[in-house]
């Protein structure tokens, strides 16, 4: 899509030139504001403790060192457990992958059923599912903790997978529903006349058309679940904690000398997967963001 002002003739003259420079200056200053925390994390993670003490906040690392990264990865102490971030990183993968896959499959089926095979009350069902995307988690923390306990899933990865699938359904259903609504019903009609059934139409007609929204949904769910802290902190015990909870424990442990380079390296480790996905597929992430709502 083109810029709003592209219909207008470009402004001429010195005044316009100065305004143009000012415009770029403001935009670049804002870029610096947004980038500062990330740059700080990256540069600090490559510095030695000595350099952090003596050097300046914004200086680049003099002696580029990966020590903090390797220490954060497999030796840093999270509580009494000194195996570094690695096992928790693995926990997050074990939680995220099934949770994303399951919630996406259900979302796609729901979206398909709610748009192409509309039944009486479909809109109410959709509205009730959708409300879940705005639900403050605090309302369900306690009953969920009790339920997971009763199911024997307390403190386990399985419990967290269940939680993320259930509360992700609102988003995945919303994404697919709004996407499928724009696919012509005639396609489905024609296929039913040819004798195709519910699931056949889904796999043969809808799924092949669904790649863009599939990418949006998977990226959205991946980012949300990977970044989750509240559920992880409430429902996962000790060794089953996701990487965000481990990071928080590492950074907020007060014993011993503070190793800022290790903190920053650990933060980068926890943030890198979603950051890489964002850089590679930001367009799809933005579409998920603007598709309706955000989880806080």
């Amino acid at each position: 899509m083109s810029s709003l002002t592209s219909a207008l003739p470009p402004a001429q003259g010195t005044g316009a030139r100065i305004a143009r420079w000012g415009l770029y200056l403001i935009l670049l200053l804002f870029a610096a504001y947004y980038l500062l925390p990330l740059l700080l994390m990256i540069t600090t993670s490559f510095k030695s403790p000595e350099e952090i003490r003596t050097g300046s906040l914004l200086s680049l690392p003099r002696d580029f060192s990966l020590d903090a990264w390797s220490y954060a990865w497999n030796r840093a102490c999270i509580g009494a457990d000194c195996r570094g971030m690695a096992p928790y990183f693995l926990n997050s993968i074990v939680i995220v992958v099934p949770a994303v896959v399951i919630s996406t499959i259900f979302g796609a089926l729901n979206g398909y059923a709610l748009t192409k095979w509309r039944f009486r009350g479909a809109n109410i069902v959709f509205g009730m599912i959708l409300f879940g995307s705005f639900l403050p988690s605090q309302v369900i923390l306690l009953p969920m903790a009790q339920t997971l306990g009763a199911l024997g899933l307390a403190g386990s990865a399985g419990g967290l997978i269940l939680v993320h699938v259930v509360y992700g359904l609102a988003f995945t259903t919303l994404f697919f529903r709004n996407y499928y609504v724009s696919i012509p019903d005639d396609l489905v009609k024609a296929a039913t006349i040819d004798g195709a059934g519910f699931f056949q139409i889904f796999t043969k007609i809808m799924l092949p058309l669904s790649l863009p929204i599939l990418v949006v949904t998977i990226i959205w769910q991946f980012t949300q679940i990977w970044n989750d802290f509240l559920y992880g902190a409430s429902f996962a015990a000790g060794g089953a904690q996701p990487v965000t909870v481990a990071l928080n424990n590492l950074v907020n442990t007060t014993t011993g000398v503070k190793q800022y380079n290790v903190d920053m390296a650990a933060a980068m480790i926890a943030g890198l997967p979603t950051l890489v996905v964002y850089v590679l597929a930001g367009k799809y992430f933005i579409r998920g963001l603007t598709a309706g709502s955000v989880k806080g």
Partner: protein, 321 residues
Amino acid sequence: MTMQTPSLRPAAGEDAGAVPGSATPQKAGGLRAVAQRHLSKLVVAPSFAAILLFVYGFIAWTVYISFTNSKMLPSYDLVGAEAFSKLWRIERWYVAIENLLIFGGLFIGISLVIGILLAVLLDQRIRGEGALRTIYLYPMALSFIVTGTAWKWILNPGIGIQQFVRDLGFPAFTFDWIVQQDTAVYTLVIAAVWQSSGFVMALFLAALRGVDQEIIKAAYLDGASLPRIYWGIVLPSIRPVFMSAFVILAHLAVKSYDLVVALTGGGPGYASDLPATFMYEMTFRRNQIAIGSASALMMLATVVAIIVPYLYSELKGGKRV
């Protein structure tokens, strides 16, 4: 670059086939069509059942518990609205509510101003727009637990900005909001605006790109200046986006939790508590389950008051078009 419109309203097309019952063939197939239609309900049923239980059932459970005298473990003896009246006598709850008002007001206001400003500036045929947009929005892709690590450092007077500026030769420079009772909540605003204003930018930029160019052209030929065109014509014409942005930011503010945990931990003392951290503290640390549940319901009521009218008008509007 295509961006989805910032709306819950489905994109064009829904109403093309808005025959009641949509694609389901009414006559062809008979029995089979009936089976197919039930299949549709069967497919949605597990998700709907899960939502009924885990969202609405759990809300009901929390409501019930808030009317009991549960302390460390849930008790099922109803004692009336005791927990609510206790809640509203706790000073810490008032601190959390007051903080939410300060934090929410500033966070929403400043995010809107910065987001709109950036969207309008980026709309001026900027070279490198894609890269700038990516930079403005990346904080949304990272957990605040991650970026909070950096923010905590920046705001720490001993090693962050304050020390940096002092080292530059201004020994009297002071920026210690994070350790002061009265100002800690403002550091939450700084970090939250940093995280969400790029998102507001994306919402408004998408809307700006959808405004009819002919209107702009006509106004320009009439001699209106660019700022006046934006202020007088363009921004009023995308009014619905203000509503969406406000609703999303407001519900983010009510739910803010990670931010506080990563940045201040609610401190110093409980000076920067928000309702979400208050609820966690009461429920999981102080064994006051009933009061924790009551506070969670206050948060829910706030979100419902913001969301339900919005969802209603959006969904209704979608059908009306």
